[in-house]
């Protein structure tokens, strides 16, 4: 049975789109058929993160308004044969887009794929509710910053009004060096505050913005790559394992790295 997972956060800029794209990529590499559905209508960026912005012919709006078939709007992602994207559009007038017609599209996607990962717009207005009503599960993305966690808490309260099978937490941009020095909340502490099961932790790494700039997923072997692997495994197999962002800052060499990071 297909799983429909909305990736949301409340606060903008915490990494919803990056998490959605890389999670989808890892799931597709594991052999699952995955569709990334961009429901951020107007300020969409899933196409840019996946590197398909020059290959879009039709989008979600064309499908909803009957100008094309769903399969014509799906764009495959390079190097990920089981992964495709249903892109969104830069629309200012979204009055014709309702929860019902979005749901109809995701129903068709669910029939074709093992995972439908929905990129939710920032905020808690109509776009958020449209995206969540099309999903069966939710991943709340936050960073270890007070404003982000506060917004994640608000979103979590709203998600409780929906009959979702599961709501999980992913902590993005976690600084292991600051956690070691007691200057930053750990993913476990954030999960405890928000009362959500911790699905994954993604370390802060230069590779993520650099790979996004190049229109590709995170580089193989780097810390975020390992973190996303563990995240995908936890989602599918319930391993309970979360990337340890502090591991590389432990011991003598870890202390040296922390010290250098502070000085530079």
């Amino acid at each position: 049975m297909s799983r429909r997972i909305v990736v949301t956060s409340g606060k903008g800029g915490v990494g919803k789109t990056s998490v959605a794209a890389n999670l989808g990529a890892k799931l597709s590499r594991a052999g699952h058929r995955v569709c990334l559905c961009d429901l951020d209508i107007g300020l969409n960026n899933l196409d840019v993160v996946c590197g398909i912005e020059n290959r879009i012919v039709y989008d979600l709006i064309d499908v909803i308004e009957g100008r094309c078939r769903l399969s014509q709007a799906l764009v495959e992602v390079d190097h990920y044969p089981n992964l495709c994207v249903l892109p969104s559009a830069h629309l200012q007038d979204k009055s014709g887009i309702t929860g019902q017609n979005v749901r109809a599209v995701t129903d068709k996607l669910a029939a074709m794929c093992d995972f439908v990962i929905i990129d939710c717009p920032a905020g808690i207005e109509q776009g958020f509710h449209r995206a969540v009503s099309a999903a069966g599960e939710a991943v709340v993305v936050t960073t270890p910053h007070i404003s982000s966690v506060r917004d994640a808490d608000r979103v979590t309260s709203l998600l409780r009004c929906y009959a979702l099978a599961g709501v999980y937490l992913v902590v993005n941009r976690a600084r292991g060096d600051l956690m070691m020095s007691g200057d930053m909340m750990s993913p476990e502490e954030i999960a405890d505050i928000l009362k959500l099961p911790l699905l994954g932790a993604i370390p802060e790494d230069d590779d993520l913005p650099l790979s996004t700039a190049g229109g590709s997923m995170v580089s193989y072997g780097r810390a975020p790559d390992l973190a996303f692997n563990m995240l995908a495994d936890n989602l599918t197999d319930n391993t309970g394992e979360v990337f340890d962002c502090t591991a590389r800052y432990r011991g003598f060499f870890g202390a040296v790295k922390r010290s250098l990071k502070r000085k530079i």
Partner: protein, 76 residues
């Protein structure tokens, strides 16, 4: 440690936000409770009071009610 300060701030903020209610909230709640209780007790509106305390686990609502007597239920 900075983290402890941040955690304390965050917990207080989230706790307060969950416990916040508009002024009319308790008036509406009191009116509804009064409407139910007066079916069972001889009660005037001023005999009912509500107290809401914010605790770590959430809101604790206590109701105090002083009734003159118990009403007879049923007809006949």
């Amino acid at each position: 440690m900075r983290k402890k300060i941040e955690l304390d701030r965050l917990e207080k903020m989230l706790h307060l936000e969950k416990a916040q209610a508009p002024v009319q909230f308790f008036d509406a709640l009191k009116a509804d409770l009064y409407a139910v209780l007066r079916n069972y007790f001889e009660l005037a509106p001023d005999d009912l009071s509500l107290e809401c305390k914010n605790e770590k686990e959430g809101c604790v609502v206590q109701m105090f009610c002083k009734a003159a007597g118990v009403k007879r239920l049923g007809g006949g």
